[in-house]
Each structure stands twice: as structure tokens, then as C-alpha cells.
């Protein structure tokens, strides 16, 4: 390798120096992974009594419960959590919020579950 090429690679190495993640990212990530299952149960708890009175909704908690015991929960919960603010803004009252949450969990579970058979 010529010295010119070596110099340029040294510059490249300097320009693309590794970037340290924010200090709290590792902790946040660890916490997210640890809490995923708990969060899934909390989501279930918040609406299951109301929803279970309507047989049409029985399939939804069943789907959420299935993913609640697997790593697939990670994606379901993360996606549901990601839309929490939007749901809250659009909800007229706590019952409406619970129903929207229910709908999102069922929808996301439906997306994840088929992939579990890959």
C-alpha cells in the first residue's frame, strides 16, 4: 500500500470514528427487554374485564396471551407502546382508550403470530 493510500485510510478511520451511544440507551434497552412480558400483562389487565364480557373480543386477549409468553411479545408491545400517544390523543375517554389499545394489540399480534410458524 502506498503512503498516500495509507494516509487516506487513516483520515477515513478518523472521520468514521466509532460513535458512543447515549449513556442511558443500554439501560433503557435492557429495561425494555426485561419488562416486555410485564407490559403485555399490564395491557391485558387494563381492558380484559370489559372486553371479556363481549364474546366477539375473546379472540383478541387469546392472541395477546399467546404472544405474551414469547419473544414475539417484544415487537407487539413495542409497536403498541409506540402508538400510545396517538391513541390517547384520539380517545374521547378511558373506555375509548382501552378499546383502541385492545384493537392495536390484536392487530399487532395478528401481524406477529403468522411469522412464528416460519
Amino acid at each position: 500500500m502506498s503512503s498516500g493510500a495509507a494516509d487516506f485510510e487513516a483520515l477515513l478511520r478518523e472521520a468514521l470514528s466509532p460513535v458512543d451511544p447515549p449513556a442511558d440507551l443500554a439501560q433503557r434497552l435492557e429495561l425494555t427487554l426485561v419488562n416486555l412480558t410485564e407490559l403485555a400483562h399490564e395491557e391485558l389487565d387494563s381492558w380484559e374485564l370489559k372486553a371479556m364480557r363481549d364474546p366477539r373480543n375473546w379472540v383478541r386477549p387469546a392472541a395477546a396471551a399467546v404472544v405474551g409468553v414469547s419473544a414475539g411479545t417484544a415487537l407487539v408491545v413495542l409497536r403498541v407502546r409506540a402508538r400510545h400517544r396517538v391513541r390517547k390523543q384520539r380517545s374521547h375517554n378511558p373506555v375509548d382508550l382501552a378499546q383502541r389499545t385492545l384493537h392495536d394489540v390484536a392487530e399487532e399480534a395478528g401481524k406477529i403470530l403468522p411469522r412464528r410458524h416460519d
Binding site: 485510510e9 468514521l16 434497552l29 435492557e30 417484544a74
Partner: protein, 187 residues
């Protein structure tokens, strides 16, 4: 637990995964940062990468046969970044926040000139074709060798060596051209 020994319980899997993300968090974050060009999206991409990795971790351990998992991890980030741009119908930001420039040490005399040169290189990296940019990020930001990069990109070792060589030469040409133009303009 030995690196190539398969975990025997869920607790073992979680312990191995914790080890993986502690070891490679900086790699995934650096890669994400140079792909998306800002810290906010880099954090999102890093988080999504590890969640996706967690979902497929046991299978990856079985299939790795003791080989390092970094290329697999970076490949996940690579695929997610591609989806990120497709979903949001946008391209990488043209300018990168200057984390690299800030963290790189400089002498006082060369500070201004050095920063301009490094910025020109970063701008050039963003203009490279996707595969060349990827390869340079993996080599220089993450310190991956040819074999690791080949695995992450799904190419042969030989093709990766050629890719890197061409990427460096193209970038060198891009960076030196404006300087040559400026020098010519002064004459």
C-alpha cells in the same frame, strides 16, 4: 459459558443475549448513526435491531456454530435501515451530525483544515452507492475484517475485498476533486 456452547435454559439465553448487546451496542449504534445521520433515529434503529435480534437469537446461536454474531447483528441493522428509508420514503440525511468530528482528536494547528477534510470525507461517504458506503462504515467505524463484512453483506470474501478497494478509491477521487478545482482556480 463457552462462546460456542448452546444455552440450556431461557435464563442462559437471556444471559447470552445480555452479553451480546453489551459487547456490540456501540457497534450497532455507530453503524446506525452513520446510516441515518442523526442520533434520534440511530437510537430507534439500535433499539429495533436488538429487539429483532432477541426474537431470533436462539436460532442464530444454533446456526452460528460458534462464529461471531456481530455480522448477523449488523445485517439486521442493515435490513432495518433499508426498511426505515423505504417506509419513510426518504434517503439518508446529506449531512451527518458532527459526532465523529468532535470525538476525533486534533492538534490546534490543524484543527480548521482537518475538520474541513474530515467533513469532506463524511459528505463523500454519504454520496457513495449504498453497498460501498456500507462496506466503508463496517470497515472503518466498526473495525470489521473482510470476512465479517462479507458475512454481513452476504458476499464472498473476494467480492468484499474488491468492493472495499473500489469504495476507497472512489471516495478518494471525490474528496480530492474539489481540492484540485480550488487549486486550479487560484492559478
Amino acid at each position: 459459558m463457552a462462546e460456542d456452547e448452546l444455552p440450556k435454559s431461557k435464563a442462559d439465553v437471556d444471559a447470552r443475549f445480555t452479553e451480546l448487546y453489551k459487547t456490540h451496542l456501540r457497534d450497532v449504534y455507530s453503524y446506525s448513526y452513520y446510516r441515518v445521520g442523526n442520533h434520534h433515529d440511530a437510537e430507534d434503529l439500535t433499539e429495533q435491531t436488538f429487539l429483532q435480534a432477541y426474537r431470533h437469537f436462539e436460532r442464530a446461536l444454533r446456526e452460528a456454530n460458534g462464529r461471531p454474531l456481530r455480522p448477523w447483528l449488523i445485517r439486521i441493522a442493515h435490513n432495518l435501515a433499508a426498511n426505515f428509508y423505504r417506509d419513510r420514503s426518504r434517503k439518508p440525511e446529506s449531512g451527518i451530525e458532527d459526532a465523529g468530528l468532535i470525538s476525533a482528536p486534533h492538534t490546534t494547528e490543524s484543527l480548521v483544515e482537518g475538520r474541513e477534510q474530515l467533513k469532506a470525507i463524511l459528505d463523500g461517504v454519504q454520496q457513495l452507492p449504498d453497498d460501498r458506503r456500507e462496506a466503508l462504515i463496517m470497515r472503518f467505524a466498526l473495525g470489521m475484517d473482510n470476512r465479517e463484512i462479507a458475512r454481513a453483506l452476504g458476499r464472498t470474501d473476494g467480492a468484499t475485498k474488491v468492493l472495499l478497494h473500489r469504495a476507497i478509491r472512489q471516495l478518494e477521487g471525490m474528496v480530492s476533486e474539489p481540492a484540485a478545482d480550488t487549486a486550479g482556480g487560484r492559478e
